[in-house]
């Protein structure tokens, strides 16, 4: 089995991203510090070209490298989303890094390398390749979490993320090796047909499923594998947190769904029970612990845990549903939910990144006191993101929750939808508390370092994109719904 140049053309977007990353690394030391801004624009340009390339491939299906990589609509959906998020991250970082005086040219290279890992994850149809993509993404994120080296918390976040991430990779690899032992292949399609032949009561694939669920659980921050999330999200630079919370979760869901539906689809009845337990635990714990947080980044971290739980409802529903029929709609609801989550969470983190108290970052929820008086527009944007995160119409968050809950009801899991709904109401409390602090509370006089919002043109673009996504998808979701449905159809 050899490869042809056609294979290289198929992975051209990935190659371009890697090439841009290497160019950034090579050129950065040659440039004088003021010229290094150009690196951000180089990254942005590459991402735009990649998005164009990926979009032009929608509707086609091709296999590259002997079936290790598949270019299909499912992969393209995630890759478009991930490239978009990476573009927003570059824009956000451009002003955030200046504000924090973090002049590290390698930063953009790490964003691009992490992105290439994510793109490999979502388009690979082979467990080994998926694992390597996950490692490429994680390793870049470990470094990025520790880039604010003057702050011990950032280094602690990096170390903690690294140790727990390595541990979870080990568990995932153990699962992969058991599956290889049971089926003789790491290809998802081969594994799928082998499991279909042996029946669903063979123990090795079952143990492997549990281990894979635990490994992916770490990456998705599902309870009880969530312990690293708040510390890492709080300690990492905010632009990195936004990227981690959004892109790494989206990519992990992309790979997770492919592995569990294409490879382990025959064990649906077994893993749907397992994931149901994880899903309920995540919803309950994520939302309840978020209630008592005073730090906005920790609060958003627990909220991102809870949102992984909401998205997981769709996965459980897909596994729970009877053979054939409605499970495609359930999977599409997961894609839709993550796409919506991307916009609102990135927007919220962008507002947090621009909030400054004196010379340092304002991270406490109290720092938002009276923001509506000083920055009406910024406060209003935060209001929209919070309302959307809480899932109140007419924002996109409502649409996402609506489709996920519908898929649960149609799969016969109405009680799960009810639990999720109850906790969505609970979550409204902590989201709207931020709004309350911004709008209802007067800033106390004599606070010499009153928090302010730092605006810059690039940040405005980020916020405009996020808010446009939240509002447009809330009012007119059908293009995204049809795109998600088309993407899911590519899954076997």
């Amino acid at each position: 089995m050899t490869f042809s140049s056609g294979d290289l053309l198929l992975v051209l977007p990935e190659l371009l991203v890697v090439l841009a990353a290497c160019t950034v690394l090579a050129v950065e030391p040659l440039l004088a510090p003021p010229q290094r801004d150009g690196l951000a624009w180089l990254s942005l340009g590459t991402l735009a070209v990649c998005m164009g390339l990926i979009a032009s491939r929608i509707g086609h299906r091709a296999e590259a490298f002997g079936g290790l990589v598949t270019i299909d609509d499912y992969g393209s959906f995630w890759k478009l989303l991930l490239c978009f998020v990476a573009g927003l991250t570059v824009l956000l970082s451009y002003s955030y890094l200046k504000e924090e005086r973090l002049h590290i040219g390698e930063y953009y290279a790490f964003v691009l390398l992490a992105l290439s890992g994510m793109m490999v994850m979502v388009s690979a149809t082979d467990l080994l390749t998926i694992y390597l993509g996950t490692e490429l993404m994680s390793l870049s994120l470990y470094v990025m979490a520790g880039l604010k080296r003057s702050e011990p918390r950032s280094l602690e976040a990096s170390a903690k993320y690294f140790v727990l991430g390595a541990f979870s990779s080990g568990i995932m690899l153990y699962g992969v090796s058991l599956l290889y032992g049971a089926t003789g292949s790491t290809r998802l399609t081969v594994i799928g047909s082998a499991i279909a032949n042996t029946g669903s009561d063979a123990p090795l694939p079952l143990v492997a499923t549990v281990l894979l669920a635990a490994g992916f659980g770490f990456k998705l921050a599902l309870v009880p594998f969530h312990m690293w999330t708040p510390d890492v999200y709080q300690g990492a630079p905010t632009s990195v947190t936004a990227f981690m919370a959004v892109a790494s979760k989206a990519a992990s869901f992309g790979a997770f769904l492919r592995v569990f539906l294409e490879g382990l689809g025959g064990l649906k009845t077994d893993w749907s029970v397992l994931l149901l337990v994880l899903c309920v635990a995540t919803l309950v714990l994520g939302n309840s612990v978020a209630l008592v947080q005073t730090n906005i980044k920790r609060m958003l971290a627990y909220s991102s845990i809870a949102h992984a739980g909401y998205a997981m409802i769709g996965v459980v529903a897909a596994g729970w549903a009877a053979e054939g029929g409605r499970d495609a709609a359930s999977v599409a609801s997961v894609l839709l939910y993550i796409a919506v989550y991307v916009f609102m969470t990135f927007g919220a983190f962008a507002v947090v990144a621009m909030l400054r108290k004196g010379d340092v970052e304002g991270e406490e929820i109290e720092d938002f006191t009276g923001l509506a008086k000083r920055h009406p527009l910024g406060a209003f944007m935060m209001l929209v993101f919070m309302v959307s995160l809480a899932g109140i119409p007419p924002t996109a968050g409502f649409i996402g929750k609506f489709y996920v809950f519908m898929s649960a009801v149609e799969a016969g899991l109405a009680w799960l939808a009810v639990i999720a709904l109850i906790f969505a109401v609970v979550s409204a409390y902590y989201y709207l508390r931020v709004v309350l602090v911004m709008y209802m509370r007067e800033p106390t006089e004599g606070t010499e370092t009153s928090p302010r919002l730092v605006l810059s043109p690039t940040l405005s673009i980020v916020l405009a994109c996020a808010i446009a996504g939240v509002v447009m998808l809330g009012l007119y979701p059908s293009p995204l719904v049809s795109l998600a449905t088309q993407a899911v159809r590519a899954l076997q």
Binding site: L128, T129, V143, S158, A182
Partner: protein, 170 residues
């Protein structure tokens, strides 16, 4: 005979692996890790994978273990009792899991699983050549991704360790 050899290697691997976490002196832990690595290499040889066995000894027993020892001596840790108090909890958690695993495997129908069905082993072939060919043809893509991982690890280590960049250190 084959069973006996496998039993020896597997048994020593298991015991040495437990000792790595159970011994109180970190240097002894590292040394039992060394014993484990050698026996894993032995297991590879019984599977006719001489190249893997050699790599196992050169990379793990050689390079990585020396690195561990170096770090241990740099940090000068003589005894670390912080985690040994938790052994009861760990045992209480691991024992049921281990038993469950045994029960699951005992209930397996050995005919149903055909281990490594798709990967027949021709012992006559030069397996260094076979690995090289597979790595650079079938698994070229994952191989290149792995090279990127090494790039990230290298640059990441430099960026995090270099003085005089970032924050107030600038």
């Amino acid at each position: 005979m084959e069973q006996l050899v496998f039993g020896y290697f597997a048994g020593v691997i298991a015991v040495a692996a437990v000792l790595v976490v159970a011994l109180r002196n970190p240097v002894y832990s590292v040394l039992s890790l060394l014993v484990m690595f050698f026996h894993v290499a032995g297991l590879y040889i019984t599977l006719h994978a001489e190249f893997l066995a050699a790599v196992q000894i050169i990379v793990y027993a050689g390079a990585i273990l020396v690195l561990y020892l170096f770090v241990l001596m740099l940090l000068n840790i003589k005894q670390d009792d912080r985690y040994h108090r938790q052994w009861r909890t760990a045992a209480a958690l691991c024992l049921p899991l281990f038993l469950e695993l045994l029960v699951l495997f005992a209930g397996a129908d050995p005919e149903a699983i055909d281990p490594l069905a798709a990967a027949p082993m021709n012992s006559g072939e030069d397996n260094t050549r076979a690995i090289g060919l597979t790595l650079f043809s079938t698994y070229l893509f994952p191989f290149e991704v792995a090279s990127l991982i090494l790039l990230v690890a290298m640059i990441g280590a430099i960026v995090l360790a270099k003085r005089g960049i970032g924050g107030q250190g600038a």
